[in-house]
């Protein structure tokens, strides 16, 4: 089975897997996120057109108000 890593956990890779689909599969509904794929920052406007390859290392950082 082909996989990607999301925040250090393995997730099944799918054809045409973009950032929106990854967030959906992980049930991430957070509003304010910073997303990095293989060390590269992916802005919100690029989520739908950024497709990941098997083995990709995805980091999702959830920013919560309070300070």
């Amino acid at each position: 089975m082909k996989t990607i890593m999301v925040n250090g956990n393995s997730l099944k890779w799918e054809e045409e897997m973009n950032i929106d689909l990854i967030l959906k599969r992980k049930n991430y509904t957070f509003k304010m996120l910073v997303v990095k794929v293989d060390g590269k920052l992916i802005k919100k406007t690029e989520y739908s057109k950024t497709f990941v390859q098997p083995g990709a290392d995805v980091k999702v950082i959830h920013l919560i108000s309070g300070g």
Binding site: K31, M32, L33, V34, K36, G39, L41, K43, K59, I61, H62, L63, I64, S65, G66, G67
Partner: protein, 202 residues
Amino acid sequence: MKKSDFFSAHDPRIIPILQNAVIGIAGAGGLGSNIAVSLTRSGIGKLVVADFDKIEPSNLNRQQFFEDQIGMPKVIALLENLNKVSPFTKYQVHEIKLNPENIPLIYKNVDIMVEAFDKAEMKTMLIETWLAKFPNKPIIAASGITGWGKNELLHTRKIDNLYICGDEETDLQAGISPMAPRVGIVANMQANLVLELLLSTK
């Protein structure tokens, strides 16, 4: 006070490294004011702090300000308080709302950036701006600091040059601000990480 007296209880090997460091702090509220006080006591050479807000009574539950400073711009009151702690840190303060255009100008000379905003939108904006403009300089952010207790959930996560301190899960209820102990702990986790990064790279 003589400089040698202020630093007499510091490890002498680290003093020049700390005194040569320039640290940026974005926000002077619950996180920023606590971070600035800790880094000043640590003997950091220069702090660059920006915030556009004024002190309100509700800020005194967690921020390093005093009742007679209510109404003052936070950066001006912070400057006043930091100068009382130590004259051996230089302070550059900006009373300004940070945005993607002015962040690279104000913080271009810092060695490490510390995110100390209240709102998630501002945290995201700063991190995205920083990673795009200064990918090789560390940025230390905070996420999930509200409430009380749950010490065991607080942690630091490293993603390349981005570090996140907090529990990354406790969300803020509308109209309820964080409390002094937990915001103070996370602010000091951020300040502690500044020292670690400075002292491990040299």
